[in-house]
């Protein structure tokens, strides 16, 4: 069906060209003379210029131009008013989403857009990152995530390997204050009394307990000899 229409159109164009071509040639041949003749007709030699047909034609052209411009403005205004209505009607009839999905290579569009965008800059400028991060952290159990996902033993080992702990403690810890605190918490005089000078104290304790054992041996021996004392009972 479309082929027939196209053929008909082609026929009409061919016929028009066949007729118009000699006319154009003829027009070109006669045009300069026709223009001169037209000028003579518009402004005849003996007719005053105010009432010449050319002057009248010019005034008419002015009026026509004014009306045309008004009509043009009005037409544009009405067309603009009609555009939203028409577009709405059209869009009501069309499933735009489906249309886009069917007709648009979305992957290519997205890739192109992403290529042209500086996403980092866009996010930095447009997104309240603090709010996003705090919301995400509120919803996450970070401790559990770390326990599940992180090899803590390896991390700690790595960190410890890279640290000089002794030097770090020397720099960061107020050892004097710490020592004083520990000493304050410990009953140092009691410890000093108890430990009173190391090996010598041990020897003294040995002597005391040894002598006390000897006391006990003597007391038992005396108990065996002195019956009255055994009956009376020794003091404990």
């Amino acid at each position: 069906m479309q082929d027939h229409v196209v053929r008909l159109v082609d026929l009409a164009v061919g016929a028009t060209v066949a007729v118009a071509a000699p006319l154009v040639v003829a027009a070109r041949a006669v045009t300069p003379g026709a223009i001169r003749a037209g000028r003579h007709l518009a402004y005849p030699p003996l007719v005053p210029r105010e009432i010449a047909p050319g002057t009248l034609a010019r005034e008419l052209a002015f009026r026509g131009r004014a009306v045309r411009i008004l009509a043009q403005v009005e037409l544009v205004r009405r067309a603009k008013a009609a555009v939203p209505v028409v577009v709405d009607e059209v869009l009501d009839q069309v499933d735009v989403t489906q249309l886009v999905l069917n007709r648009v290579d979305l992957a290519r569009v997205v890739v192109t857009v992403l290529d042209e965008l500086n996403l980092t800059a866009v996010v930095t400028e447009r997104v309240d990152l603090g709010h996003v991060v705090s919301t995400a952290l509120d919803q996450l159990d970070l401790t559990q995530v770390v326990l599940d996902r992180v090899d803590l033993h390896r991390v700690v080992t790595h960190v410890l390997d890279g640290l000089d702990l002794t030097e770090l403690v020397r720099e960061r810890v107020d050892l004097d204050a710490l020592a004083n605190e520990v000493i304050d918490d410990v009953d140092l005089p009691e410890i000093i009394r108890d430990s009173s000078s190391g090996v010598a104290a041990d020897l003294v304790v040995e002597a005391r307990t040894g002598a006390a054992s000897a006391d006990e041996v003597v007391a038992r021996a005396v108990d065996r000899v002195l019956v009255w004392r055994r009956r009376g009972g020794r003091s404990q």
Binding site: A207, D215, S235, Q236
Partner: protein, 161 residues
């Protein structure tokens, strides 16, 4: 012994603290005290000799003290030493080493009682051995002055007053 009977929960001999000291311990402590006083007497003799040398180095000779004078010096030194130590800490040097303390009713001995006890010890030293016979390990000096000697090498035993 009521106030001194609390045993220390840890350490060697903790269970003995506050109990009457036996004759062996007390004898060793007494021997140490005699040694201390003997050293003191010897020092006094050497000191006097040194002073006499400074006074008259040409005709100097060792001082000639009679046995009686030495005895009196030793006895007086002993009484002063025992009285002062018993009335203050309750421990002589011998008692400090052997961990014994002299008490009266579980408390520190008053100076008069300490003096009386020291006199008895000096006059009748073998009275110490009655502690081997007595049921509560009391020596003659303890019986005469109402004192007692307890094991006390923990600082809190008998040291409350």
């Amino acid at each position: 012994m009521t106030g001194a009977s609390r045993a220390h929960p840890v350490g060697p001999g903790g269970h003995l603290q506050g109990r009457p000291a036996g004759v062996v311990t007390r004898t060793i402590a007494g021997a140490l005290d005699y040694a201390v006083v003997g050293l003191w007497a010897a020092s006094a003799y050497v000191g006097v000799a040194a002073l006499s040398f400074l006074a008259n180095p040409v005709q100097w000779q060792w001082p000639r003290w009679t046995f009686g004078a030495l005895l009196v010096l030793g006895a007086l030194s002993m009484v002063a030493y025992l009285t002062s130590t018993w009335a203050t800490s309750g421990k002589t040097l011998g008692g400090q080493v052997m961990g014994t303390r002299v008490l009266h009713d579980g408390k520190r001995v008053h100076v008069a009682r300490a003096l009386a006890r020291a006199l008895v010890v000096v006059v009748f030293p073998i009275g110490l051995f009655w502690s081997a016979v007595d049921a509560r390990s009391r020596s003659v000096q303890d019986l005469l002055t109402g004192t007692s000697v307890v094991y006390s090498w923990r600082s809190e035993v008998g040291n409350g007053s």
